[in-house]
Symmetry: D2
Subunit: 326 residues, 4 copies
């Protein structure tokens, strides 16, 4: 057991729904175990600028259902330098922190790994990002909420697509991973789904459009991952209109609405579990790892591995997508 008198918690990188639930869980787990929780504002910047405060159970009342992160998140170029990290560590030390819980994604975990390696500050990563592209967990905090936000938006567009015989190209988030596009596309009954993991091309989409045209299908939803290789969704729309002047093509970029909103039940429960696990691991003397959930069990993965590896898209689900869109 590692003696933990004070544990700091921060959110870093792109915010995700459920981060507040994770902070709350870290804070309450600390209190449960007699540890003093310390809230660090604006990510690593707060460590460098000494923007932190001791908190209690009441500090995190009524935030479990709020989107965003009340601790805020900020980019911090200074923390990417050894000098920045030294300053951050010294502030953490002066504040009496014995461990640090970092809620965020790849970039945030890199920072955690470095401050632990360079200064021996025990760190635990908690995967909070809508993209679901973190190795070592089946799901990241925020992913389920983002999926549902995307699906609800596409449902609304479907209403108007059905009313009018149109082709909608809808871009969802996921720069490097097609998880959101594949799942929201299946769930929204999209006619086509373009993801970065597959070698789709304008030609392939065109084939499909030609076939659906022949089949008399008159309105279509195409969900496109923002990382899709053929270029932006606006360019894609232009290309489709050139080849199929009979289609009225509409382009929608869902954008930042996918980052906000009340977290779903799954995200709140996941955040609650991982917050507890983060504090317990630190108390057990385990650090330098990310906590995640695999097959419904809490597991740990070295931060290094969490950063370098990536979850593959589920081939079986790709197959399902092909079948249900006949």
């Amino acid at each position: 057991m590692a003696e933990m008198k004070k544990i700091g918690v921060l959110t870093s990188g792109g915010d995700a729904p459920g981060m507040n639930a994770a902070i709350r869980s870290v804070v309450r787990s600390c209190i449960y175990y007699g540890v003093q929780p310390v809230a660090i504002h604006e990510g690593y910047k707060g460590l460098i600028e000494n923007n932190m405060e001791e908190v209690n159970a009441r500090s995190v009342a009524n935030i479990i259902n709020q989107g965003g992160t009340f601790l805020k998140s900020a980019r911090c170029a200074e923390f990417r330098t050894p000098e920045g990290r030294t300053k951050a560590f010294e502030n953490a030390k002066a504040a009496g922190l014995d461990g640090l819980v970092v809620i965020g994604g790849d970039g945030s975990f890199t920072g955690a790994m470095l401050i632990e390696k360079e200064h021996g500050m025990p760190c635990i990563g908690v995967p909070g990002t809508i993209d679901n592209d973190i190795f070592g967990t089946d799901y990241t905090i925020g992913y389920d909420t983002a999926l549902n936000t995307a699906v609800e938006a596409i449902d609304k567009i479907r209403d108007t697509a059905t009313s009018h015989n149109r082709l909608f190209l809808i871009e969802v988030m996921g720069r490097d991973a097609g998880f959101i596009a594949l799942n929201s596309g299946i769930a929204a009954g999209a006619e086509e789904i373009l993801i970065p993991e597959e070698d789709h091309s304008v030609d392939k989409l065109m084939d499909s459009l030609q076939n659906s045209g022949r089949a008399g299908k008159t309105s279509s939803i195409v969900v496109v991952s923002e990382g899709e290789k053929i270029g932006g969704v606006v360019e894609l729309g232009r290309a489709v209109e050139e080849s199929f002047p009979e289609y009225e093509v509409k382009v929608t970029v869902l954008g930042h609405i996918q980052r906000g909103g009340k977290p779903t039940c799954v995200d709140r429960v996941l955040a609650s579990r991982l917050g507890v696990a983060a504090v317990e691991k630190l108390r057990e003397g385990i650090s330098g790892v990310m906590v995640g959930v695999r097959d419904q069990k809490v597991v740990t993965t070295p931060l290094e591995e969490a950063i370098s590896k990536h979850n593959a898209i589920d081939d079986d689900l790709l197959r399902v997508a092909d079948i249900v869109t006949v």
Copy 2:
């Protein structure tokens, strides 16, 4: 009293949430009064192509809560010609239609006015459009739903704006009218609202940003009506970033999600009222008018007037917007 044995109903132009509730109300009012309702598919195109069918109360079961229009809506260039309208009238006559209820906006009402003037077909307009830009009614069907969709989306973006200290420019619908921008902007607590009715300019927004910057305010939501005179929201974003490199500017175009979704209570009740009124007016021998609601009472306005005039934005509400965004 005008003898009405059969009444046709169609939706035309851009679809709006609540159109299904309006169709249902027209159909059920017909049945209530012993009139045979006839559903016309794809707007005026369905009249020209004889795509219509007699329906009953069951035909409109379980649609009151559905977005879009199950009768579909289509543009119809042919109906804009006298020949097209003659063909449409002949089909209507052959089908035994004694009157026509047209659910839609400006353009749709022009068509209704012309077919009545040229051929004596009694027509009633029902205002269905999210833009709320129809004279002769306090609210159009779909407007309240679109407002709430916009507000929910901006709420989500607020979550992430607050987490990150950013400036968001959010474009909402309303090409010629700032109703959606003004109301959703107030409701979402936007820091600035740009509407076509006001002579805003990049300069004015810039002033405000400079002041809020000085006030230490670090994140901002600016709601922009798509008809705003200074140009598209993307260009606006570029201009802001040039003048204020310290801001991280994000642009979101809400787009077509505003046209879909389950109608709100207000829109369903309004649609139910106006559907009843449309049938009752036809039976009373009144036509060539639009039914609307003014001060919670059903009123009629000649189609000509409904098309040519426009509701002005509420000056008092503009004042409220200025005050609550201090």
Copy 3:
């Protein structure tokens, strides 16, 4: 013009969605006009117990979209006594309050009227209650949200009613007024609507059920206002089952979910308008009145009248309900 250096604001009675938006608007209007806003916690109890604080624009940031009231609301038996009101007034005086904005319903306005009559404290009422039963305004703050909450819940029950051929009796709020029942019933496509304003009876509902049974209709939704004269919805359910053993009757009491939730756009805008109006009236030297909206214009009504009179249910809407449920 009345010199107003400090204005207090409190919420009292049953809470309603949009109360936070109203508080925010009062606070920001004060600041706009150079008045110091004072937030009073837990209604009149906070006045008596001196639980108040000066606030600023930041104090009400990010609450416009929150349900409930962050100032809390509490019953206060002591304020109903002259001694309690004297104590409250003395505290208000000591805190330098020149006026008071009371957000609530009937009971809250009675308190405001009395403290003004007895001690000359200028008071303005702002109608905040989901029941919509306040005279002097077309809509109360919270009513539109409650309506939509009820409609969404009934929509969900419709899904399962349709799947199973059942009769659902759904009780909605509105002890003395059938506004929620009538509007949510129309909007949700209920087969029957029972409200306290109409002399419905078990017999009448029974007739209708018998007819719908004959018509082969196999699932039904009946919306019942909690104030309906024939007794509670549970008893009603029992009576129906006795007369129609072939029906599987299910009873649902929507209850307190109708009081919560994010306020709709209409409620936020209404709250923003009325908050501004409340502060402006006080500054104009007008008090002892409630601010409301009639025909989209801000109006004032003496508190005495607001308390003693009641909005009548719209007969035309009752007629619409009968027609669309054929």
Copy 4:
């Protein structure tokens, strides 16, 4: 490979959100593999009464996002008799059905098992029930949606609980299993969660209330599973009020709203996967099993086992619940 020319699909037992998505997936998988899908109405009753029809891809368009089941579900006493099943089998045979996909829960699977044993009709079970109490799958179709519906409702009640210092007892579904109560309770930040799996008692809840009273906590949410052993939630409320007259206790039974609503992304994707799997298993000559998802992979479980065993509540999650409610 089993020759499958026609496959029937039906929904049976309590309906659940996502059933429509499952039907759609079965239908489209059939078409994908050149099998004729046959839709059977009203569960086993439709088999007995010969209420079925051949369908195509269009028959299931625009239903993926609809709650309930458009095939309807009905109890069928006759199918519980050998004679009833013989009649059902003969109709199935006459219609040319080579296999049957049954979407439902325990009771529905018993029927499927018996008709296969007695008559050799190949059957596949697809777990569709909000209770999540089916062995052989991590999640049942409808469970995630019901969880989110419960959480949203509790969130709304939290708004008003916080405003008023009250104790709310909220009953959620789950007669034999506390999955919904435990997960929605954690997600909604409930102060106490009572589930049938734990030997809670009035005394234990009373202890906790006494402690929280001492801690100055003035409003509380207690989530109670409908199967909780100490009796109904209304009786529980009465008992609490007797022991703690200082609390204002409010009781809410969420009831049937939990069965309806648009399915979440998770439920739609799960339904899509399992629908594909059901058809593929039948084609592979596998039957008498339920398809489910374990650790994100499709697995099969003999119907007999699916019926007789039960998923245990996750002990680790019970621990998390205790920790985060400090």
